[in-house]
C-alpha cells in the first residue's frame, strides 16, 4: 500500500509544493506571457536556451574550435540516437560526467577516440542484435573483412532511421557492385517493406476515424519482424528474394483487413451524412410549417 501511495499520490503533492514555492516569479512571468499571447508574438530569443543535456562530452565538444572535434556534436543532435538517449560514451567510453579533460578521456573507463573498424558491429550489436547476427556471416561481414561496417552506411554520428536510399550512397556500394545489382537490391527491399509502411499509414488513418486497427498493426509488425530477422543485413539476393516472396503471400490478407476497415469507415460516414440530411430536412420542414402558422 505504501508503494502505491508513493506512485499514485505523492508526485502530485510534490508538484503542488513546487508550485507555491515559485509563485512570485511566475506571477510576473505569467503577466508577460499573457501580454505576449494577446499580441500573438512568438516569444523567443529572450528566453533562456534550455540545456538539453548535462553530458559533458557534448557541452565541451560543442564549443571546440577544431571542426573535426565539434561537428560530431551537431551531427549527433540531429540523429536518431539522441531521442533514444544513446550518447557519446556509449561508443567512445570515457566519463561523460566529468568536466576535466583527462578524467573525461579516461582510458581506464574504456575511452577510445576512434573505435576499431573491426569491432564497430559489436558496439552497434549491443542494441541491434538481430542486425549484427545477420551481418556477421554475410558477404559484408567475416567474408568481406567487415567492409562496409555499420557506420559506413548508417553514418557514425548522424545516425538516421534507415531507408532504401541509403543503399545507393555513391561511395558506398559502387566500388564493388554494378548499378544493376544495386537496383535489384533496392527494388527487393521496397517490395518487402513498402507494403508494411502502407499498411501502417492506412491503419493510422483508419484509427483516427474510430475503427479498430489492432489486428492490422499486429500483422504488419509480424511481417516487418520477419523481414528484419530473415532478410535485413543478409546481403544475399537469393535469400532475400525467398523471404520477400513468402511475405508477399501474406500481404493480400492484411490488405483485405485494411479494405474491410476502410469500408466500415465509409459506411459510418455515409450513415452519418444520411442522418445529418434527415435532421436538416426536418429542421427545414418545421421552419416552413412554423411560418405557415396563422399569426394569432
Amino acid at each position: 500500500m505504501s508503494e502505491l501511495t508513493h506512485a499514485g499520490y505523492r508526485p502530485g503533492a510534490g508538484a503542488w509544493n513546487a508550485l507555491s514555492a515559485r509563485t512570485a516569479e511566475y506571477t510576473a512571468r505569467s503577466a508577460v506571457i499573457l501580454l505576449l499571447l494577446l499580441v500573438w508574438t512568438p516569444a523567443g530569443s529572450a528566453t533562456a536556451q534550455q540545456a538539453v543535456t548535462t553530458n559533458t562530452c557534448v557541452s565541451c565538444h560543442a564549443d571546440l574550435d577544431d571542426e573535426d572535434m565539434s561537428l560530431p556534436v551537431a551531427e549527433w543532435q540531429r540523429s536518431a540516437h539522441r531521442p533514444a538517449d544513446i550518447a557519446c560514451q556509449d561508443c567512445h567510453g570515457g566519463n561523460p560526467a566529468s568536466m576535466v579533460e583527462d578524467e573525461a578521456h579516461d582510458v581506464e573507463r574504456d575511452f577510445v577516440g576512434l573505435p576499431d573498424p573491426y569491432v564497430v558491429h559489436e558496439l552497434c550489436g549491443e542494441c541491434h542484435q538481430v542486425q549484427m547476427e545477420n551481418y556477421v556471416p554475410s558477404p559484408h561481414g567475416l567474408e568481406g573483412d567487415f567492409w562496409p561496417n555499420c557506420v559506413d552506411c548508417h553514418e557514425n554520428h548522424e545516425v538516421v532511421f534507415p531507408r532504401a536510399s541509403l543503399i545507393s550512397i555513391p561511395d558506398n556500394c559502387e566500388d564493388c557492385h554494378e548499378q544493376e545489382i544495386m537496383d535489384d537490391f533496392i527494388a527487393l527491399t521496397d517490395r518487402g517493406l513498402e507494403p508494411v509502411n502502407e499498411f501502417r499509414r492506412a491503419a493510422e488513418e483508419i484509427r483516427s476515424a474510430g475503427v479498430p486497427v489492432d489486428l492490422i498493426l499486429a500483422q504488419a509488425s509480424l511481417a516487418r519482424d520477419a523481414y528484419i530477422q530473415q532478410a535485413s543485413h543478409v546481403f544475399v539476393l537469393d535469400k532475400m528474394t525467398a523471404v520477400v516472396d513468402s511475405l508477399e503471400q501474406v500481404y493480400p490478407r492484411i490488405q483485405k483487413e485494411v479494405n474491410t476497415a476502410r469500408t466500415e469507415v465509409d459506411t459510418r460516414r455515409r450513415f452519418g451524412w444520411m442522418f445529418i440530411g434527415l435532421f436538416l430536412v426536418l429542421a427545414g420542414v418545421i421552419w416552413l410549417y412554423r411560418r405557415a402558422l396563422p399569426e394569432d
Binding site: P42, A43, G44, I228, A283
Partner: protein, 399 residues
C-alpha cells in the same frame, strides 16, 4: 371515438384526483406567449436539456455493457467500441454529448448573464440554474474517470488533488472522493454510483423546478426591473408568440442543427480511447477536461490556499449574483460595467484555458522549437531544421 374515450378517462380521473387543476395549469403555461425579443440565443437552455435527454438514452445503452471495476472497465469500453453493434456510436454520442452539453450550458449561462435574466423576480431560477451547472460539471468529472484510460485516471488524480488543497476539510474531501489515498477500484465504484444514480436524480429534480419557474414567471423582458412586467395578454398584444407551438418549434430547429453538427464531429473526428490507466506511470502533460482547464491553470499561478479560497469566492459571487447586482437595467447596452466585466471574465478564462492547453507541450514556431513549461511559459530548446527522419524501411532498432 378516441376523443370520446379520452374525455371519459379525463372525467373519470378528474372525479378522483382532480387532474383538471394540473391540466389547466399546464395548458395556461404552454400557451402563454413569450416576448418578441427572443432570438436564437434563447434556445441554448433547451439545447442543454435536449443533450441531457440524449445522454440519458445513450447512457442506458452504455450501461448494458460497461463494467465498473478497475480490472475490466477499460476492456468493457473497448469492447463497446469495437465489438458491440453500434456500441461505437453510443460511446461517441455519449462522450461528444457530454462536451456539447457543457458547452451549451456555459453559453446558456452567458446568455442569461448578458440579458440580465437573473434579476428580480428570477433569482430562484438563477440559483437552480447554478445548482444545475454544478451537477452537470460533476457529471463530466465523474464520467471522465469511467473509461479508466491514462488520461482519465491522471486527469482525475490532478482534479481530486485540487480539492485536497481546500483549507481544513481538504484532506477529508480527498478521501471522500477517492475512497482512499489513491484513485482505485473504490474510487471508480463511487464515481460510477454518482454518475448513474445520484446525479441524474438530483438533476431531474433541479431541472423540473428550473423549468417550472421559467414558465411560471415567463422569460425576462428587456426593460429594467423598475418597469412592471407585462401580463400574458399585454405580451400577446405587443407581438409575443405562443410558447407552444411557435417557440417550441424554433427551439426544435436549433436542437436539430446542433445534433447534425455533433454527428459530423462523430464521423470525422471521433473521440479516442487512450491506453489503459497505469497507476505507476504518470504521463507528461496531465490535464483535466477543457471545462476545468482555466481554473486548473489559474491555480498553478497562485499559492495553494489563496488559489482555492480565491476561486471559491469567485464561484460564490457567481452563485449569489442576483443578490448583489441589484441594478434595474437588463439590456446589455444599458449596463456597460456588467457587460464589460463579463467580457473580460470570459476572455480571461479563454486565455487561461489556452495556457493550460499548451503547457507541458512542444511546438515549433518560425523554425524554433519551444517547450512550454507547466505555466505555459515558452523555452527555446533547439534551432534544428527537422529532427531525425521518420522510420522508413524497418531496418533500425531491435524492437
Amino acid at each position: 371515438m378516441i376523443r370520446r374515450l379520452s374525455n371519459a378517462l379525463y372525467h373519470w380521473l378528474d372525479d378522483r384526483v382532480e387532474i383538471s387543476i394540473v391540466i389547466d395549469f399546464c395548458h395556461r403555461q404552454l400557451t402563454k406567449p413569450v416576448p418578441r425579443h427572443l432570438n436564437w440565443l434563447f434556445s441554448f437552455g433547451t439545447v442543454t436539456l435536449a443533450f441531457f435527454l440524449s445522454q440519458a438514452v445513450s447512457g442506458v445503452f452504455l450501461m448494458i455493457y460497461y463494467e465498473a471495476s478497475a480490472d475490466t472497465a477499460y476492456e468493457s469500453v473497448r469492447y463497446i467500441m469495437e465489438q458491440v453493434r453500434f456500441g461505437w456510436l453510443m460511446r461517441q454520442v455519449h462522450s461528444y454529448g457530454a462536451n456539447f452539453m457543457i458547452a451549451f450550458l456555459l453559453l446558456h449561462s452567458v446568455r442569461v448573464f448578458f440579458y440580465g435574466g437573473y434579476k428580480k423576480p428570477r433569482e430562484l431560477t438563477w440559483l437552480f440554474g447554478f445548482a444545475l451547472l454544478c451537477v452537470t460539471l460533476a457529471f463530466g468529472f465523474t464520467g471522465y474517470l469511467l473509461p479508466w484510460d491514462q488520461l482519465s485516471y491522471w486527469g482525475t488524480t490532478v482534479g481530486t488533488e485540487i480539492a485536497a488543497a481546500t483549507p481544513v476539510i481538504g484532506e477529508y474531501l480527498l478521501i471522500l472522493m477517492r475512497g482512499g489515498e489513491i484513485i482505485s477500484d473504490v474510487t471508480l465504484t463511487r464515481f460510477f454510483m454518482a454518475h448513474v444514480v445520484l446525479l441524474p436524480w438530483v438533476f431531474i429534480g433541479l431541472v423540473a423546478v428550473h423549468l417550472v419557474l421559467i414558465r411560471y414567471k415567463g422569460i425576462s423582458p428587456l426593460e429594467g426591473t423598475d418597469v412592471p412586467e407585462k401580463t400574458p395578454e399585454e405580451l400577446k398584444k405587443a407581438g409575443g408568440k405562443p410558447f407552444y407551438p411557435q417557440h417550441v418549434m424554433k427551439e426544435a430547429i436549433v436542437v436539430l442543427l446542433v445534433l447534425a453538427s455533433m454527428i459530423f464531429m462523430i464521423i470525422y473526428y471521433p473521440l479516442p480511447l487512450h491506453e489503459k490507466a497505469d497507476p505507476f506511470n504518470t504521463p507528461v502533460g496531465v490535464r483535466p477536461e477543457w471545462y476545468f482547464l482555466s481554473s486548473y491553470q489559474a491555480l498553478k499561478y497562485l499559492p495553494k490556499t489563496i488559489g482555492i479560497i480565491g476561486s471559491g469566492l469567485v464561484v460564490l459571487a457567481i452563485c449569489l449574483l442576483p443578490f448583489w447586482d441589484r441594478t434595474p437595467a437588463r439590456r446589455p447596452s444599458r449596463r456597460p460595467v456588467a457587460t464589460s466585466l463579463g467580457i473580460m471574465f470570459i476572455v480571461l478564462n479563454i486565455v487561461l484555458a489556452l495556457l493550460g492547453k499548451i503547457s507541458e507541450t512542444e511546438m515549433t514556431i518560425m523554425g524554433t522549437r519551444y517547450h512550454f513549461d507547466i505555466y505555459g511559459w515558452p523555452h527555446a530548446i533547439a534551432t534544428v531544421e527537422e529532427p531525425a527522419a521518420e522510420p522508413d524501411t524497418g531496418d533500425g532498432g531491435t524492437e
